[in-house]
């Protein structure tokens, strides 16, 4: 697998009126094509800035980000880079442009100047892939948060991106909406082969990722498989992440002397681990 995104020693500074704020410094990261990467970090860890840098919405102060070998600072390819790396934001309300679902989804392809019948096909396909085709004539305003967010994702998919970066797409949703979005993302990765970079502070959303990166104060503090990362609960808590109760329970049982690992999250697996641990001791 080759890299779709290469972040090379970048620095990013916000320039406020009088003070400079360095968010990222000498930061490097590669994203493999077709992979599902989760970036965990609490508010202010620099992860949202990173998201906006990946498609050239923000420009690096120093260093370079390559998307398929093209620099995000290359103004000539600005549009093409945004097409290849789609960005989905936290608040679904503020990323929908049109008041009819299908017309909103068409916005991207329309900007790209595709032919009307091509746009039609792209829109229908995108809506089907997020399971919102039957709502194509509805108005976003009447949909639930999870549905609106799926429309926002469809709006990106309609541009046929190679990679989608999602910046806390579930933060404003209820549990049902969250589940909808996470399963949609997984499906897009598995079935459509789209590279996914999911930025979140909910640890359980990282369970099925290929790779988990933990960020804190603009730095990568851990970068490994979910299993590996989850066994290091202490670190996750230190950087202020949401640790699900299952993991918390395993962690504390372990601290209390039970012979158990903390690398699972699901209810079933956790129960199995505890059951095994208790039984092993009994035998």
């Amino acid at each position: 697998m080759d890299n779709i995104i290469e972040v090379k020693n970048i620095t990013f500074e916000y320039e406020d009126s009088d003070q400079k704020d360095t968010v990222l410094k000498d930061f490097s990261l590669n994203i493999k094509r077709g992979s599902f990467t989760v970036i965990l970090g609490h508010n202010g860890s620099g992860k949202s800035t990173l998201a906006k840098l990946l498609n050239g919405l923000y420009k690096v102060t120093d260093g370079e980000i390559l998307v398929d070998g093209i620099s995000t600072s290359d103004e000539e390819h600005e549009i093409e880079i945004k097409r290849r790396v789609g960005l989905v934001f936290q608040n679904p309300d503020n990323q929908l442009v049109a008041s009819i679902v299908e017309e909103d989804v068409a916005f991207g392809p329309e900007n790209l100047g595709h032919a009307p019948d091509v746009i039609r096909a792209e829109v229908d396909e995108a809506l089907k892939s997020v399971g919102m085709y039957e709502f194509r004539k509805s108005t976003p305003h009447r949909l639930s948060g999870g549905q609106k967010q799926r429309i926002a994702i469809a709006g990106i998919i309609a541009m046929k991106p190679d990679c989608i970066v999602l910046d806390e797409p579930t933060a404003m949703l209820d549990p049902k909406g969250r589940a909808e979005i996470i399963s949609t993302i997984k499906k897009l990765n598995r079935e459509n082969g789209i590279t996914i970079v999911l930025i979140t502070h909910f640890m359980e959303e990282a369970v099925d990722a290929d790779r988990v990166i933990v960020m804190d104060s603009g730095k990568i503090v851990a970068d490994s498989t979910p299993k590996d990362i989850f066994s290091n609960i202490k670190l996750l808590k230190e950087v202020g992440l949401d640790v699900p109760q299952t993991t918390e329970l395993l962690y504390r049982l372990k601290s209390g002397g039970m012979n158990i690992t903390t690398d699972v999250i699901s209810i079933e697996e956790s129960a199995q681990k505890i059951y095994d641990a208790i039984h092993l001791e009994e035998i």
């Binding site: 508010n43 002397g257 129960a271 505890i274």
Partner: protein, 288 residues
Amino acid sequence: MSILEVKNLTHTYDGNTPFMNDAVKDVSFSVKKGEIIGIIGHTGSGKSTLVQHLNGLLKATSGEVLLDGKNIWDDPKKIRLVRSRVGLVFQYPEYQLFEDTVYKDIAFGPKNMGLSDDEIAHRISEICELVGIKAEYLEKSPFDLSGGEKRRVAIAGVMAMQPEIIVFDEPVAGLDPRGRADVIKMIYDYSNKYGATVLIISHNMEDMALIADKLIVMNKGELALFDTTENVFKQHEFLKDIGLNVPMVTQVMLALKEKGLSVPDDIFTVDRAVDYLLTLSKGGNHNA
């Protein structure tokens, strides 16, 4: 004696309004002074509509809300007095901040109650101490604060009115773990200090297990359950049927039970689960 009583409250929205709303059907319950009540249910189950009746922001289609035994609409002119006795903190309350300093913003509610400047100053310093807003923050602009801080200031703005009952609509939505813990603590401390009654709408069963004495379960506009947190969570089958979950730790315990381990089904917090499981494992392990 119950401080708040809701009797056969029904609220129907005109079916033709273009905005989706959740109706409430024949809901009755009563709340005692100092209780912390959780309200759980799906989006659209009527929770938000229900709580807006408690301080008279919405008027019931039928049924009534009694505060200290008196219908809050007995004298419609005094509805603002009701609103100072029943505080309501909306979802994402930081979006209602508007003054140029934190102090002035917190003072908005008390000022509307017609309190003297001295009394307002006293209340603000009291509430800020309680919820951990530092004195130097008071002269800052609320818009310069972080998300979590804004939320605390907005909540303090309602608490400074010292309502006897305070209602929260998803007070921790969108916050990170640190922010969440801060807000939960602040609600708990307020209730403790003033003996206030608290109602909290939340999706987070884990938080509910920690803080709520009783739970109201709303389903399709109806009150499906109203009982102690323990008794509600014991009905995990029913909750599952209407699309709600018990806390994750309880689900783990239930899964263990299914595997044949003898564990009780009334464990709703990690603390209790850890205690129980460690005792169980050490009890079985003779070397320990």
